[in-house]
């Protein structure tokens, strides 16, 4: 499956009125209200070569009036049909910074989308990176495995183990191909010629440690959460094993007593419901830790990417300095 974005349309439909731009908490963290808009994407599946215009809705947890949104959506669809464009609601998008998108909210809504429309994707858009010069747009889907788990709604450790799911296989990335119309391409070429030289060297800027710092901070937060989660899990494990022991002891004692009674010719003690006596402790939901792990994974990837690039830059800078000296 491949996602083809028609850039022209992306731009055409990209801008929505500002109130829509306020969004999830991730937006606030960055402090800017960049991003957070609906866009139209074109979806190509490899096998069946069909293209359709699709409508991506932005999801926010604190939507003021959902009915208004639905109405707007419906109206938009109708308008699209009027101008004779294929229309289908195939997903939604979220804009975040530093790739912190692996959250429970995203999982839930993507699940509901994917459950309703199988081809649904979520687009993750990073306005900061985009502002820095490299368009950051990624499309994700839930893996079939995760879909299964989510359908079951059972996030106990055993269920997850049985489903054989790990953080690495929660989301699958769908490659994005951006196609522009020829006219746009021509325009781009022309613009590129006109642009100043300085703009091109933006990528060589060394002053981007802020990014790294932010990333580290976020990573640290997640690691903290992870630690707590593990501690929780640990106590759970300890409790279960303790209980198991107690249960075992209890059974043994019972057995001994029954043996004694038998030897004395008395009737054995009645069977008791052990599960009532020893209620197994509530297992902690592991989905959160899975998500955190996934998030950490993303951060790590980000950092790796970034450091790899920047190390290169540093070496280059040093070489240059030596050369200058």
């Amino acid at each position: 499956m491949m996602l083809t974005l028609m850039k022209a349309q992306y731009f055409l439909w990209g801008g929505l009125p500002t109130p829509w731009k306020k969004g999830t908490s991730t937006h606030r963290r960055g402090g800017t209200s960049l991003g957070g808009k609906g866009s139209r994407i074109r979806l190509d599946t490899e096998r069946v070569k069909f293209t359709r215009d699709s409508w991506v809705v932005m999801e926010t947890s604190q939507e003021r009036d959902p009915s208004w949104r639905v109405q707007y959506q419906m109206e938009m669809m109708r308008s699209l049909r009027h101008v004779n464009i294929d229309h289908l609601h195939v997903g939604w998008y979220q804009s975040t910074y530093y790739g912190s998108f692996v959250t429970r909210a995203l999982l839930d809504s993507q699940f509901s989308y994917q459950h309703a429309i199988e081809e649904s994707v979520v687009l993750i858009y990073d306005p900061i990176k985009t502002a820095q010069g490299s368009l950051s747009l990624k499309a994700y889907r839930l893996t079939p495995k995760l879909m299964e788990v989510c359908k079951e709604k059972d996030f106990s450790p055993e269920a997850l183990k049985k489903a054989n799911i790990t953080f690495e296989y929660m989301f699958e990335e769908v490659p994005i191909v951006i196609k522009n119309s020829h006219l746009i391409n021509v325009l781009m070429w022309e613009l590129e010629k006109k642009s100043a030289v300085a703009d091109k060297h933006e990528l060589l800027s060394l002053a981007s440690s802020n990014h790294l710092g932010k990333n580290l901070q976020l990573l640290m937060d997640r690691v903290d959460e992870m630690s707590q989660d593990i501690v929780k899990y640990n106590t759970y494990m300890r409790n279960t094993s303790k209980q198991q022991q107690q249960k075992h002891q209890y059974q043994q004692r019972r057995q001994q007593e029954n043996m004694q009674r038998q030897s004395r010719g008395e009737p054995p003690l009645p069977e008791e419901d052990l599960s009532k006596l020893f209620k197994p402790p509530q297992p902690p939901a592991r989905m959160d830790s899975l998500l955190i792990a996934g998030q950490i994974n993303t951060y790590c990837q980000n950092i790796k990417e970034f450091t790899a690039q920047n190390l290169g830059k540093l070496f280059m800078a040093q070489a240059l300095q030596e050369y200058n000296n």
Partner: protein, 1010 residues
């Protein structure tokens, strides 16, 4: 029941309590107890039998009356309340009702009430107008009464069938009502009592008759009994027979007639009668002359109090012609004293009597002993004048008291042969025998202590912002003078214990006063004889410091009660602190070890302790010892209850936390206003010293994850300041400090200075100090120094080197000071730099980790703990505790020094760290890498990566590190497969390692070693 017989006397309550059946007063016993109250007793004896029935039914009728009133004014809520009470009262009267049948009036009210309620219920309009409470009450009451009336259905129907009779009764009822009320005003006269007696005698006969009747006509008997009950205080039992009715009417008429002429004459007659009775009683009793007289007298002024219009005569003490001797006077004194503390004793009169007695004694030349004795008692009764502890003396009383004590002291000083003491027994007193030294029982010290307490109470209860307070405060000098006199007296005659006590009193009146004279003297050294006479006179008084020293030392040496010594020490410290003798004050505080056991002391001492600590802190601040000041004030300020802890006012708290009683006690503990320590000054001193400590500290530990706050309260203020959406120019003291802190954070000492010291702050705070200018100059200097430190902490990473001259210009400090400050910072390892002497510059080492490096360090720590936790899970799975690689690879993480490239190179033992001795000069970076290269954009300079002493030379070792970590990575994998920890964490560790390799390890190691 007592309504009709109230006399307004004290005995009334007593009788109503015991007045169930028989109220005949035990005459003899009562007499002994209350020799001054006569008339009332007499009447009480007259009170006779009242049956339980009467009492209960009266209760019911009273309630019914209120219900009817409430009905009239449509107050349903009131109706409901009273109805409930009525139900209860009826329940109480149940036993009687069982015997007598349901009273008629009760049925009537039930029926009426129901009708009334129904009427209200129907009246939709009215209901709408009714307020909510009433409407609610209406519905509940309606339901209640319906339910209730079911039990009385038969009675009510019978009542309804025969309403005219009830109408009759209504009329009577009204009459009765009016009569009842008129009864009240003429209750003193014997008439009502007489009628009552008559009624009572008649009542039983009526009842018996009625019983007979009951046999005859069944249908009417209930009414009969009701009538009877209704007229319990009324006359004969009213039957339905007209004849009976008439009889009653006439009786009533006669009563009204009788009542009409009751005027003052009657009253007088009653009065006379009473007095006669009293006389008679006395005759029965012992007939000692003086006693009788006294009783008479007591009776007299008791009556005055009762409101009978009699001209107040001057009380006569002795019968005419009695020879006034010591014995007589003493006896008289004892008599007066016996009444002391008794209920109903007029205290004012007692004082008057005593004063009269003194006069008589003086007139008759009975000697000083007697006068002293009586004076003691006068003062004591002056103190007794107020019945409870909370109220304070009236000014005139207070004046009298002071005069009296002064007179007493005069006598005592004039007659050194009088011995006064509380341990002199009453029997061994020698009041008149002039040959031997006179001995009088009584304790002057206690009197003075009590006086002091009274003074405190007066001050507590006066509005501190009124002229009155100033007036009262003027008495303080007098109080002090008295204390001084007593002190002189006791120094001659008293025991050490007494001396200690009076010394403490003196100390308590001295310690809080700033000795301006001594201060002046200090400022202007003596110029020999050039001083004017007046000055000399002014300076005559002992220096308060010397005085305190002398008194306290005596107490330290002689006192055996801990409390006095503790108080003395605290006061001494306070006094030292107040006069800026910081070291003496501090040493005394530390030597006393009071901090350890002050929590066992009683609250007033604790308050004194708090005051002392605060004063100590303020003193430290004045000396420029901000740290000491902060420490001293920290406890009291962090609680947020400084006001309460210093006893300068109660905090508004919910009533659950303390009840009325506690509040009273706390109120009594308050320190009078003139002793208060200004709370704003206190807070300002605290905040400013916190600012001077905290701001440089914050700058130094900007990126330290585990940095602790020095002062929570200061941080709180900062946060409050940050939260402000709009920052105007500062208004309050706190805002000033916050604004100053912000300026200081930037190293801008001038702005900081202008915020801390300006007109407003001077007026609010600084001028409160005795030596305001000195404090201000100290403060400026402190601000300059701390700003310099902050500046260096904050901006040292920007500088390669900085000239000390520039710094001294910037902060307007002289060069040696700057030099010393920087040297201190270097020695304390706060600033990674070295001094270059010839050029007078500070050369930065740039060894502090950058923000990113710090973050990476923190991350490493966190990852370490994460892995440890993870390992535990793994242990659990394995069932073995202490995993096979625990603490090996992960210790690597927790000690960043290990990551240092050269120690990681294979073959180098990890312990071979370069020794610390070569720091700091020895560790100057050999090669200064990339910082601020010419061709980079300026933005890059502040970049963390570049501004660190980054040299990319350990390139190879970086790679080594990377390869080394792959081993760890595999270890990680083992652990992580199980519990989903991302292996990719490890990859971020690569990055860490790279950073840490840039990071100078020795500093970190030094930290670890510390």
């Amino acid at each position: 029941m007592s309504r009709f017989f109230t006399t307004g006397s004290d005995s009334e309550s007593e009788s109503s309590l015991s007045g169930e059946e028989l109220v005949t007063k035990p005459v003899g016993g009562n007499y002994g107890k209350q020799p001054l109250l006569l008339s009332e007793d007499e009447e009480d004896t007259k009170r006779v039998v009242r049956s339980a029935k009467d009492k209960r039914f009266e209760e019911l009728t009273n309630l019914i009356r209120t219900i009817r009133n409430a009905m009239k004014i449509r107050d349903v809520t009131k109706c409901l309340e009273e109805f409930e009470l009525l139900g209860k009262a009826y329940g109480k009267a149940k036993s009687i009702v069982d015997k007598e049948g349901v009273p008629r009036f009760y049925i009537r009210i039930l029926a009426d009430l129901e009708d009334y309620l129904n009427e209200l219920w129907e009246d939709k309009e009215g209901k709408k107008k009714m307020n909510k409470n009433n409407a609610k009450a209406l519905s509940t009451l309606r339901q209640k009464i319906r339910k209730y009336n079911r039990d009385f259905e038969s009675h009510i129907t019978s009542y309804k069938q025969n309403p005219e009779q009830s109408a009759d009764e209504d009329a009577e009822k009204n009459e009765e009502d009016s009569e009842g009320s008129s009864d009240e005003d003429e209750d003193e006269d014997g008439v009502s009592a007489a009628t009552f007696l008559k009624k009572k005698s008649e009542a039983p006969s009526g009842e018996s008759r009625k019983f007979l009747k009951k046999m005859d006509d069944e249908d009417e008997d209930s009414e009969d009994s009701e009538d009877d009950e209704d007229w319990d205080t009324g006359s004969t039992s009213s039957d339905s027979d007209s004849e009976e009715e008439e009889g009653k009417q006439t009786a009533l008429a006669s009563r009204f007639l009788k009542k009409a002429p009751t005027t003052d004459e009657d009253k007088k007659a009653a009065e006379k009668k009473r007095e006669d009775k009293a006389k008679k009683k006395h005759d029965r009793k012992s007939k000692r002359l003086d006693e009788e007289e006294e009783d008479n007298e007591g009776g007299e002024w008791e009556r005055v109090r009762g409101g009978v219009p009699l001209v107040k005569e001057k009380p006569k003490m002795f019968a005419k012609g009695t020879e006034i001797t010591h014995a007589v006077v003493i006896k008289k004194l004892n008599e007066i004293l016996q009444a002391r503390g008794k209920k109903g004793t007029d205290r004012a009169a007692q004082i008057e009597l005593l004063q009269l007695l003194v006069q008589i004694a003086a007139e008759n030349n009975l000697g000083e002993g007697v006068i002293v004795k009586i004076k003691f008692n006068i003062i004591a009764s002056l103190y007794d004048y107020n019945p409870n502890l909370a109220t304070y003396m009236k000014p005139e009383m207070w004046g009298k008291c002071l005069d009296c004590i002064n007179e007493l002291m005069d006598i005592l000083f004039a007659n050194p042969n009088i011995f006064v003491g509380e341990n002199i027994l009453e029997e061994s007193e020698n009041l008149h025998n002039a040959d031997q030294p006179l001995r009088v029982r009584g304790c002057i010290l206690t009197l003075v202590e009590r006086m002091d307490e009274e003074f405190t109470k007066i001050m507590q209860n006066t509005d501190p912002h009124s002229q009155e307070y100033v007036e009262h405060l003027k008495d303080e000098a007098q109080v002090c003078a008295i204390i001084e006199r007593v002190q002189r007296y006791l120094e001659e005659k008293g025991t050490t214990e007494e001396v200690c006590r009076i010394y403490l009193l003196r100390i308590l009146h001295t310690y809080y006063k700033f000795d301006y004279k001594a201060h002046q003297r200090q400022l202007t050294p003596p110029e020999g004889s050039s001083k004017s006479e007046q000055d000399q006179a002014e300076n005559e008084g002992e220096d308060s410091a010397v005085l305190m020293e002398r008194l306290c030392k005596y107490i330290y040496a002689k006192d055996r009660t801990d409390r006095i010594r503790t108080c003395a020490i605290l006061c001494h410290i306070y006094h030292h602190a107040l006069h800026s003798r910081w070291y003496q004050a501090r040493d005394l505080m530390l030597m006393s070890h009071l901090q350890d056991n002050i929590q066992h002391a009683d609250p007033p001492v604790q308050i004194l302790y708090n005051r002392t600590m605060v004063q100590l802190g303020i003193c430290a601040f004045r000396q420029g010892l901000t740290k000491d000041a902060h420490n001293a004030l920290l406890d009291i300020q962090s609680s947020g209850r400084a006001k309460e802890l210093l006893g300068q006012g109660l905090l508004l708290r919910s009533l659950q936390e303390r009840n009325q009683e506690q509040e009273k006690v706390e109120r009594r503990r308050q320190v009078p206003f003139h002793l208060h320590i200004n709370l704003e000054l206190l807070e300002c001193v605290y905040l400013v010293s916190a600012m001077l400590l905290e701001i440089p500290y914050m700058a130094a530990h900007e990126s330290d994850a585990r940095r602790r706050m020095i002062s929570k309260q200061f941080h709180h203020q900062l946060r409050v300041g940050e939260r402000q959406p709009l920052l105007g120019p500062p208004e309050s003291m706190r805002e000033h400090v916050v604004a100053a802190s912000k300026a200081m954070k930037m190293g801008d000492w001038k702005t900081c200075h202008s915020f801390i010291i300006n007109e407003k702050m001077n007026g609010k705070v600084w001028d409160l100090f005795p030596e305001a200018d000195k404090v201000r100059t100290m403060l400026v200097r402190k601000i300059q120094e701390e700003s310099l430190r902050t500046y260096l902490f904050t901006y040292s990473s920007v500088y390669d080197s900085i000239s000390m001259e520039t710094l001294s210009d910037m902060f307007e400090l002289d060069l040696p000071t700057v030099h010393s400050i920087i040297s201190k910072m270097i020695i304390n390892e706060e600033l990674m730099a070295s001094l270059d002497q010839p050029t007078q510059t500070v050369v930065m080492h740039r060894t502090e980790p950058t923000a990113q490096q710090n973050l990476a360090l923190q991350l490493a720590e966190k990852l370490g703990s994460l892995v440890e936790n993870n390992e535990r899970v793994f242990d659990h799975k394995q069932g073995t505790y202490g995993g096979y690689f625990r603490g090996e690879c992960f210790r690597l993480l927790s000690s960043p020094g290990f990551w240092y490239p050269h120690s990681l190179s294979p073959g180098t033992p990890s312990t071979s760290f370069p020794s610390l001795s070569c720091r700091p000069e020895g560790r100057l970076p050999q090669k200064r890498g990339l910082h601020a290269p010419r061709w980079l954009p300026p933005a890059a300079i502040s970049n963390g990566l570049l501004s660190s002493p980054l040299c990319l030379t350990p390139r190879l070792s970086n790679l080594e590190v990377l390869s080394h970590t792959s081993g760890i990575k595999s270890l990680f994998k083992v652990v992580m497969v199980d519990c989903l920890l991302p292996q990719r964490c490890v990859e971020s560790i690569h990055l860490l390692i790279i950073f840490l390799s840039f990071y100078p390890h020795d500093r970190h190691k030094a930290r670890m070693q510390r």
